[in-house]
């Protein structure tokens, strides 16, 4: 009986090895693909954004079959990111996404979400007082300053005053988490008047 087990193990061993190898490659490929897609898409979107600035009224798709399009450009830290329309999976894979339930940039509370592993990995490094800027499709740059960060439970949603001028950047928490949990890290940023714009009464 023992001999039979040994021989069947011998026979199955290469198959096991092959399966494990495939699984390993598949998992790593997936991980690599997520990062590659995130990086590559941003390069493609750069062109669509340039077109958007030329013709802001028209939706400029980064590739013909895309179901999202750039709505803003966001510079924070060393990152230069193109923000896409919609904060669902289809958009977030390619760039940070603008939550359509929030107000457009400069018209109230704007919420932009991004993946913690890719585009919004940078959020954990931002500190209160840090500057960031956002370009709207009209070409104007809006300047913001980070107020504070807070961890909140997404199951309750985020209560905001829609009318308040602010930019909220959202990513998953904890930053080094492996699974998708209910916690989110929200970075609050307020408009920062340029030095020349202050105290215009």
């Amino acid at each position: 009986m023992a001999a039979a087990t040994t021989s069947s193990w011998q026979r199955l061993r290469p198959w096991f090895s092959a399966t494990l190898l495939l699984l390993t490659l598949w998992h790593w490929g997936q991980a690599g693909w997520i990062h590659a897609k995130a990086w590559l898409a941003q390069q493609l979107i750069a062109g669509a954004w340039a077109d958007t600035l030329q013709q802001p009224e028209e939706v400029q798709k980064p590739w013909p079959w895309a179901d999202t399009w750039p709505v803003a450009r966001l510079q924070l830290g060393h990152e230069d990111l193109y923000v896409l329309h919609g904060a669902q999976g289809n958009a977030l894979a390619f760039g940070p996404g603008y939550a359509t339930a929030s107000q457009p940039p400069g018209q109230g509370t704007t919420l932009i979400g991004g993946h913690r592993d890719t585009h919004f990995r940078v959020l954990q490094q931002l500190q209160p007082g840090d500057q960031l800027r956002l370009q709207t499709s009209s070409g104007d740059w809006l300047h913001y300053q980070v107020d504070h960060g807070a961890v909140i439970d997404s199951r309750q949603g985020l209560i905001v005053d829609p009318a308040r001028q602010q930019l909220l950047l959202v990513t998953c928490y904890p930053f080094d988490g492996v699974q998708s949990g209910p916690l989110r890290y929200v970075l609050y940023a307020s408009p920062q008047p340029l030095p020349g714009e202050r105290l215009q009464l």
Binding site: P128, D161, G177, G181, P182, L183, E197, L201
Partner: protein, 737 residues
């Protein structure tokens, strides 16, 4: 010789000999080894899985407590401060007395806390007493000039004494600060106020707001907070970045249009168990037989004791996420046409004075023919109108459009950050244009800022309409911080136009609704639920279409120096009573005195006499305070009309100190005598938020995790498995050969 390898028959290998012994020894070893491999790998896998599960569980737990987690740099979370309220309301005829308790509980085991809470109260309430309860001790609050009270509070706070400060930011928005609430302790602050019953269309009502819809702050930021002045809104822990939202400053910076923006923009919170609940108990002594007692937004339990009713809400306490409204209607034909209440008071100069409240309901007059009108509708489509509010607003406006006649002219203006007019000029209400308007209204969505000023300006822009009536109907939640600026505009540009406000939503800014209509010489109404739209808009239209009682004047007997308020008597619309408060020096003659009222109703003169007699019962208690509160309101109205700000302040201050009233320039302060917090213990500031008004939505947060890390980890696992299989398994293979 041949060097050929002797071919050993395969079965020779299996013959008994030295091999079987060796194989027998070998086999168990291989088994043991494989067992080790399997166990090792299973362990590795198990550890990895447990780690993953633990991660997931940890993240579930962290957010499960039902409160916002405010992360501090040291990784700690702020202890929450629980707030609960209790309102004991007594209604005597037209006068309401309320004892309003607010309890601040510190659930922490070791932290001393300062609570800062911005809260609403009825916009006409005359707040005349404050007490603070700390454990067994009851401390009577005192009225002080605002800055003096702040200083006293700061001193008490710094020296570790429990203290509370009540300030007025708006007639319906106040600040409660309570310093040095010990670990596990509850401090209760009780406010007592007097108010008048609202009487309109034969229905009596009173409204108690419980939360604040976030106010929009227009204007440009006017610089750093530090430059505000000596009011010392700072707190020890305010330097902390996470505390900015959590501190007392509010979420907005002062602007040119709203210099006190930081004081009227409290954070919003979600309902957490054990906090933000209010218990309401009402003793209703209406003084007349009632047909019904109702509350449009809450379920009631009503007990009748003789002429009096005891009323509570069905659930013992209700979440503080919307206005509480109580309405009572007298039996048909028993609606009062006139009522008077008086109170005598010993004044500061040791002279007696009588204060009187007069209510008079003018008779309804039917319009012989409906005049053609120009109606401009303004609809607020700002972000705060999101949720159910915009639905109510659209429904109201659609109903209003249906009411127009073909000879009427109309226009619709919608505004948020910018305003948009349906037509460049008012158009005749023909079916085609009405259809266009309905299409326009149906497509309106809420979003953006609340830039009210340009929209109002556009609606009030002077048009020479000749004899035609011009009415502006303003549908909004009034969630702005620049009320005074808007009142100024309305007063300045009103001309022949009349402005009517329709307050929308669960927690509208009633102060704005009332005063905008007051300056606009129109009337105001509230719609808090879609089911109310039909009835309330119907009432508004009967007001718009019926003759108005104008040019009212009041005449006292010769020699009586009465100070009658409001100083400018309003125009009265159908179903609205005249409610005046008056101060008469000296005592009233025992048989009373006749007061004559005159005005113009439509095209005819109207005149009525009312007899004012000394009050017999205690129904007049609090009239003096109501008079003083009305006087303050009048003075502040005059300020909006351009009166000198410094002079207004002096007059209001004197009156408020004399009558012990909370006002923009006076605050209540209560300080416990003994210091309690050890100087070594820090005091943590905690802003108590306001609940999100019922019907508003929170933003859904996107899913922001990819599987990249998980894939990487699982890949590592399978790779480790492969590696160990290869290494261990390979060795067996070789030995086997």
């Amino acid at each position: 010789m041949s060097f050929h390898n002797p071919r050993i028959p395969r079965r020779r290998l299996l013959t008994p000999g030295p091999y079987p012994r060796k194989a027998l020894w070998h086999r168990p070893n291989r088994w043991r080894r494989r067992l080790w491999q399997v166990t090792g790998l299973s362990l590795l896998l198990a550890v990895a899985l447990i780690w993953l599960a633990e991660r997931a569980r940890a993240s579930e737990n962290e957010g499960g407590s039902g409160e916002l987690l405010l992360q501090q740099a040291d990784g700690q979370r702020l202890p929450a401060l629980l707030l609960n309220s209790d309102a004991e309301i007594t209604v005597n005829g037209m006068v309401i007395h309320t004892r309003f308790r607010q309890s601040f509980s510190n659930p922490s085991r070791d932290a001393w806390v300062e609570g800062i809470y911005r809260f609403p109260l009825p916009d006409t309430a005359a707040i005349g007493r404050m007490t603070m309860q700390v454990g067994e001790r009851l401390i009577e609050g005192e009225i002080r000039e605002k800055q003096a009270a702040r200083q006293e509070y700061q001193q008490a706070k710094a020296s570790g004494k429990t203290a509370s400060l009540t300030e007025q930011q708006r007639p319906n928005l106040f600040t409660q600060k309570v310093a040095n609430i010990g670990p596990g302790e509850t401090v209760t602050v009780t406010l007592e106020y007097t108010d008048t019953v609202h009487y309109d269309q034969g229905l009596f009502s009173t409204r108690l707001p419980t939360t604040i819809t976030p106010r929009y702050i227009p204007g440009l930021a006017s610089g750093a907070l530090q430059s505000i002045g000596p009011d010392d809104e700072t707190q020890p822990s305010a330097t902390h970045s996470s505390l900015q939202m959590d501190g007392s400053w509010g979420w907005a910076m002062p602007t040119s249009a709203v210099p006190d923006a930081h004081e009227i923009t409290p954070p919003q919170t979600l309902k957490a168990a054990g906090s933000h609940e209010i218990r309401i108990a009402i003793e209703l002594n209406a003084g007349l037989p009632l047909q019904s007692i109702t509350s449009p937004y809450h379920d009631l339990v009503i007990e009748k004791h003789g002429p009096q009713h005891s009323i509570t809400t069905r659930s013992e306490s209700i979440p503080m996420d919307r206005d509480f409204v109580l309405q009572w209607r007298p039996v048909a034909g028993r609606a009062p046409q006139a009522a008077t209440f008086t109170e005598s008071r010993l004044e500061a100069d040791n002279q007696m004075a009588n204060y009187a409240l007069l209510m008079l309901l003018p008779p309804a007059a039917k319009q012989s023919s409906r005049l053609t009108r120009e109606t401009v509708f303004i609809i607020d489509t700002s972000g705060s109108m999101g949720g159910t509010s915009i639905e109510q607003a659209r429904a109201s406006l659609l109903l209003a459009l249906d009411r127009l006649l073909p000879q009427d002219r109309f226009n619709v203006i919608e505004f948020n950050s910018h305003y948009r007019q349906l037509f460049s000029n008012s158009q005749l209400a023909n079916p085609e244009l009405l259809q266009k308007a309905k299409h326009f209204v149906s497509s309106l969505e809420a979003g953006g800022g609340t830039e009210m000023l340009p929209a109002l300006q556009s609606a009030l822009r002077h048009h020479d309409t000749g004899e035609q009536l011009r009415q502006v109907i303003f549908i909004t939640d009034g969630s702005v911080g620049n009320e005074e600026q808007l009142f100024e505009l309305i007063d300045r540009q009103l001309g022949n136009t009349r402005l009517f406000t329709v307050g929308i939503g669960s927690a509208p800014n009633s102060h704005f609704m009332r005063k905008a209509a007051h300056f606009g010489r129109g009337s105001f109404t509230h719609i808090g639920d879609s089911s109310e739209v039909g009835a309330k808009m119907g009432e508004l239209f009967s007001k718009l279409e019926s003759p108005v009682l104008r040019n009212l004047s009041i005449h006292w007997p010769a020699g009586v120096e009465a100070q009658t308020l409001p100083g400018r008597l309003p125009d009265l619309y159908l179903g609205e009573p005249l409610l005046i408060k008056t101060r008469l020096p000296g005592s009233l003659p025992a048989n009373g005195m006749d007061v004559q009222l005159q005005g113009e109703l439509g095209h005819s003169r109207w005149q009525q006499t009312i007899r004012l007699k000394p009050g017999a019962d205690n129904q007049g208690k609090g009239i003096a305070r109501l008079w003083a509160r009305q006087r303050i309101s009048d003075l502040l109205d005059d300020k909006a009309r351009g009166a000198d700000a410094g002079e207004t302040r002096e007059q209001v201050l004197e009156l408020a100190l004399q009558h012990q009233l909370l006002s923009p320039y006076t605050s209540f302060i209560a300080v416990d005598k003994t210091p309690r917090r050890p100087v070594t213990d820090a005091l943590k500031g905690k802003a108590v938020g306001n609940l999100v008004p019922q019907g508003q939505q929170a933003l859904a947060l996107p899913k922001t995790a990819t599987n990249a890390s998980l894939n990487l980890l699982l890949g590592l696992l399978t790779f480790a498995l492969l590696l160990s299989l290869h290494l261990c398994g390979g060795r067996h293979g070789r030995r086997h050969d």
